[in-house]
Amino acid sequence: MSAPTISPAPAPAASGSARPKARKPKKTGERLLHWFTWLIIIWLALPIAVVIAFSFNNPHGRFNYSWTGFTLKYWGPKLFAIPNLTTAMEHSLLVAVVATAGATILGTLAGLALGKYKFRGQGVTNLVQFACISAPEVVLGSSLATFFLQVRIQEGALTVIAAHIMFCVSFVAITVRARVVGLDPSVEEAARDLGASPWETFRLVTLPMIMPGVIAGAMLAFALSIDDFITTEFTSGSFMTYPLWIWSVSRQGLPPQVNVMGSIVFAVGVLFAIANSVISRRRAA
């Protein structure tokens, strides 16, 4: 759109005089859109700024209501002063790591099947995956909760992990499938012609080629798992994760440690995303 007008030939008189007039408001419009984009970026960043700012607050009581002075103490040893919160964060990390590993393995296999082969039942599989992704979380969570209740499975860490693998696996499968579909099958044929066994072909040829898709899927799964609240609340029983702990004390107000941990997760996530984009750009270059 920013390209100059195409027709160099003198246009008919009417449109020729209209054109310079029409260009000016477009420039203003472009600037307005630019400002508007930044306005929305600032609006989106506002709660993040609040979370980070209050991690440096020095509240009088236990809870972090209003700004009462700058301190760094919650970024130090005091960060772990609330044992329940620390445990909840450890639980979140543990669940995210295990669920990511599980969902990545199952999702990669499914993505390979869906991208490389045509088989009976493929339509049903796609439909189930689509339903799983588009089903409201409150429905996923409550149906799992009553399911565990009816088959008498005690809710805890394992049920949370099972639920997280369930809602992550489709996302990994879709990401991997997109990568598999773009592969050139002749490379695998060449490996086989050179005497590689199916397993060697997979390990030395296919897997390295689909790796960017697998990594993207795993990062997505980790992000979904560590932040999940609704499904986790329904499937956790008395098992506490970081979002659940925040929710449980939110009525009284949050201690600054919550903000520090939130800021750390934010910073690590942003660094990972930047590193990932730098690496993939360098690989593309």
Binding site: M1, A11, V128, S143, L144, V169, I246
Partner: protein
């Protein structure tokens, strides 16, 4: 021998993930449908009385305001999201130049903060003496009794905030795919900027808007976090009722019937919507994200 094995390969690959989805997604949904027609209470247990749709009738008649509110908040949220997202997606797609991915990244930043935490942060910001209303009241610019928190507007602000990136991204993807030569062709045929936009760019970007509506409406209509953190007690949505029926009242059959109704309505909606707009386009646009 080899032929049979390679024919079975996709099934082996699909088996673990498929089983997982069957056990932890399909079976619970089917059992929930069975549970939804039962009666009883949590102490004496629930029995299948096939009283059929009693729970459903109760679910719709008793909670009509919540159903309406869910549709209203999610619908308004979608409209506001489209109005905010389209200009941004347009600007990034056509004027973003080499910084396109940087802008998209900045718009995705909220996703790096926990969903619950950022919603609670809005509670601070919108509070009666909070970051915005506090100073305005101090300077006497608004009445001391004015409030945003615990109103429907606060819930809609939260919904728009939490799902806005899911609207910007698909619209951006659709606009980014518009072939610049098509726009040039429009110009060559002496169409003005407005005409080119209305007749060329807008129709080509609509699949992105439709996908964005899907990605916004479903989570927004079933959400209960925004409504309980920002909406106070008077603005509950159907998600809050499902939550209460499970955790507070512990009437599992009613909860199951409400959940199934919600899922059914949304799935039928998605289906009709996809039929009306061409399934392929909507699903492809949704998958492109």
């Amino acid at each position: 021998m080899h032929g049979i094995r390679s024919k079975l390969t996709p099934y082996y690959l699909m088996l673990p993930g498929g089983l997982w989805l069957a056990i932890f997604f399909a079976v619970p949904i089917v059992m929930m449908i069975g549970l939804s027609t039962m009666t009883g209470n949590v102490i004496s247990g629930f029995g299948e009385t096939w009283q059929h749709f009693g729970n459903y009738v109760q679910g719709f008649t008793q909670y009509t305001p919540e159903w309406i509110r869910s549709a209203e908040y999610a619908g308004l949220g979608c409209l506001i999201s489209i109005v905010l997202s389209y200009p941004i997606a347009y600007w990034i797609a056509f004027y973003g130049g080499s910084r396109k991915s940087t802008y998209l990244f900045l718009l995705l930043l909220p996703f790096f903060v926990s969903f619950v935490l950022r919603t609670i942060a809005w509670n601070y910001i919108l509070g009666d003496q909070g970051l915005i209303l506090g100073p305005l009241k101090h300077w006497g610019l608004i009445a001391p009794g004015f409030r945003v928190l615990a109103t429907g507007s606060a819930v809609i602000i939260g919904i728009v905030y939490n799902y806005l990136p899911f609207m910007i991204l698909p619209i951006y993807v659709a606009l980014e795919r518009v072939d610049p030569t098509v726009i040039e062709a429009g110009r060559d045929l002496y169409a003005g900027s407005a005409t080119v936009f209305r007749k060329v760019v807008l129709p080509l970007s609509l699949p992105g808007v439709f996908a964005g509506v899907l990605l916004n409406f479903v989570p927004a209509a079933s959400d209960y976090v925004n409504a309980s953190v920002l909406g106070g007690t008077g603005n509950t949505m159907i998600g809050n009722i499902i939550y209460d029926q499970y955790f507070v009242v512990q009437n599992y059959p009613v909860q199951a019937s409400l959940s199934f109704s919600l899922m059914g309505i949304l799935l039928i909606g998605i289906f009709l919507y996809a039929r009306a707009l061409g399934t392929e386009e909507v699903l492809e646009a949704a998958a492109a994200i």
